[in-house]
């Protein structure tokens, strides 16, 4: 089969689609965030593969490194918010927090 760029891209597309599915189908906020992590990893895999095969530089790898860092920060803030919501309301479900819905 001779592994090449398309194979990496396919794996990444699968991860992206799965992440999207998780985001749309899950109610638990933490599970939604896991879906987001899948999507971010898919994009990162793309960046690294392209940086190796297409650009043959390391811009893509640097991009991926920054994305990893910011994803960690985003996860920290998001999970802090989830904990704050849990303290106030005792739920982590996106659609049972109803006070905003009319």
């Amino acid at each position: 089969m001779n592994v090449g760029l398309p194979h990496f891209l396919t794996v990444s597309a699968v991860l992206f689609a799965l992440g999207l599915f998780a985001v749309m189908s899950r109610r638990n906020t933490v599970a939604i965030l896991m879906g987001v992590e899948l999507m971010l990893n898919a994009a990162n895999l793309n960046f690294v593969a392209f940086s190796r095969y297409v650009q043959r530089g390391i811009d893509g790898q640097l991009m991926a490194a920054f994305v990893i860092v910011l994803a960690a920060a985003e996860a920290a803030v998001a999970l802090a918010i989830v904990l704050a919501l849990y303290r106030n309301y005792g739920t982590v479900h996106a659609d049972t927090a109803q006070s905003l819905k009319r």
Binding site: M39, A43, D59, A78, A94, S99
Partner: protein, 508 residues
């Protein structure tokens, strides 16, 4: 180890980035000051933030003369550029940040005696201002992403600032989830674009696209994914769900900043990204102009029409003033997108000018809600009965803001809308203009319903005592209301600034 193409950003670059550098220091100093005051004297962080924002504003104004005529100046190893557009948005964001900090100081929602972390609030507002400025300056995919995440991370926290309040926490949860998802979608689109062009630099992407080396279908998919992520930032349909809930749940001064800051920054980013990578230097004959590859005008005009119609129709039914303003801000995004349809210099300059006007009038309307909320603890329209008689000066200014939001002469909103309409009319997109005109008529109804309740209905017995505003509130409101009036009659200088902004960007 060989070192190729190393361009070390020199300290000299920093002199073109002074306003932002000052604000970064302000952020750190405000945190430090708050820490030394053990969080008990928010006035320390407040004073540092105000001083920093004023200094940054002064530096930004000084830069206007230094940089704008010379065109764009690439800084920090070509990752960012300071050109006329960047300077325009710098001024806009510093103004918005300063107005928000000042008004937040008077807001019960932020400064009420039960609240905590007051000092950090001001520090975060300052940092958000920096991140928005970087959004307007980025000319590299990496900086684009970093700037958007910077704005996102600070705004998630600010939306949840009232952490003992359920509504605020929920608003911030909605914001962070939608934000994380949309930025992941955008990132995937950017990765595809990088793969097709082999460059993270906007100019490098453009060079490859001009060379005709890219497959239209691939570009289409990448552009749609990227547009989805950016539509979230500006809250265009169908990525608007979060907007009303977040604005309603977040503290009102924060909602005010959200309704103008990140939106304007999102537009700045979209203009620079789509215009410099896909439009400049490609005439109609070039096969890879974005307008050729995908039916860009149709795509954007449909988004624009749907966004403004949706925003206005739902705003009609709202009984909560803050929520109504949230939907109206969605409608305004629809108007703004009109300037984006043709990716012409004329349209983009109209967007810049309208963003200026919109910042003034929308901040003003939200701040009025803050002032009322301080006294009445309510945002319901029914509680606004006779407010005009209880706080006449503020009431008059609110009418100015509402009139300008509707877009009737002689207010600035009218001039702004006129420019947007002409930009589309220029190339015979009459149906869009007609829809936008109808929408303005719809919006007349719900904006003036507020004015009517305030002035034409007498306050209830026992609820007619005059409400006092502080001098700071009057000052900030006046600083927003007077330009809203003046810009409606005398707009030449600012229109020139907007035009020059787009011209220098196109040239650079």
């Amino acid at each position: 180890m060989e070192l190729l193409h190393v361009k070390i950003p020199s300290w000299g670059d920093l002199q073109w980035w002074l306003p932002e550098a000052v604000l970064c220091c302000t952020f750190l100093l405000a945190l430090l000051g708050d820490m030394l005051a053990r969080g008990r004297r928010p006035v320390v962080a407040f004073a540092i933030s105000v001083a920093g924002l004023l200094a940054a504003g002064a530096l930004a104004i000084a830069d206007t003369h230094a940089v704008a005529p010379a065109g764009g100046r690439a800084i920090m190893g070509d990752l960012m550029v300071v050109d006329g557009m960047a300077i325009f948005f710098r001024l806009l964001f510093v103004f918005g940040g300063l107005a928000t900090v000042l008004f937040a100081w008077t807001s019960e929602e932020i400064m009420g005696h039960r609240r905590e972390n007051k000092g950090e609030f001001f520090a975060l507002t300052v940092l958000m201002t920096v991140a928005m400025m970087v959004m307007a300056e980025a000319r590299n995919v990496l900086m684009l992403y970093l700037a958007m995440e910077g704005v996102g991370l600070t705004s998630y926290v600010m939306a949840g600032y009232m952490r003992t309040s359920l509504r605020s926490t929920e608003a911030s949860l909605k914001y962070v989830i939608f934000g994380a998802v949309s930025s992941a979608i955008m990132l995937y689109g950017l990765s595809l674009l990088y793969g097709m062009t082999g460059s993270l630099q906007f100019s490098g992407i453009r060079a490859v696209l001009l060379g005709g080396g890219a497959e239209p279908f691939g570009i289409l998919v990448a552009v749609v994914l990227i547009l989805a992520g950016m539509s979230y930032k500006i809250a265009a349909v169908p990525f608007h769900f979060w907007c009303p809930d977040v604005y309603e749940g977040a503290p009102t001064p924060v909602a005010a900043l959200f309704s103008v800051g990140p939106k304007a920054a999102g537009f700045a980013l979209m203009i620079r990204f789509f215009y410099t990578t896909f439009a400049v230097g490609t005439n109609a004959a070039a096969s890879n102009s974005l307008i050729q590859v995908i039916n860009w005008p149709l795509l954007v005009s449909v988004i624009s029409a749907v966004t403004m119609t949706f925003g206005n129709l739902v705003a009609l039914r709202q009984t909560n003033v803050k929520r109504m303003l949230a939907y109206s801000s969605i409608a305004h995004v629809g108007y703004l997108l009109m300037g984006f349809v043709l990716l012409s210099e004329m349209g983009l300059a109209a967007i810049l000018f309208y963003l200026l006007v919109y910042t003034l009038m929308n901040l003003g309307a939200f701040f009025f809600v803050v002032a009322v909320n301080n006294h009445l603890k309510s945002e319901q329209l029914e509680d606004y009965k006779g407010l005009g008689y209880r706080m006449p000066w503020a009431g008059v200014m609110m009418v100015v803001f509402l009139g300008s939001l509707t877009g009737v002469p002689p207010f600035a909103g009218f001039v702004g809308k006129l420019y947007l309409f002409t930009a589309v009319m220029d190339r015979q997109w009459f149906w869009l203009v007609i829809i936008a005109g109808l929408n303005s008529v719809i919006s007349l109804y719900y904006y003036f319903r507020v004015a009517r309740v305030m002035w034409l209905v007498r306050p209830d017995e026992g609820h007619d005592s005059p409400l006092r505003l502080s001098w700071l509130q009057y000052t900030v409101l006046a600083c927003l209301a007077v330009p809203t009036l003046v810009l409606g009659l005398y707009f030449g200088a600012f229109k020139d600034l907007a035009d020059a902004g787009i011209r220098t960007m196109a040239g650079g």
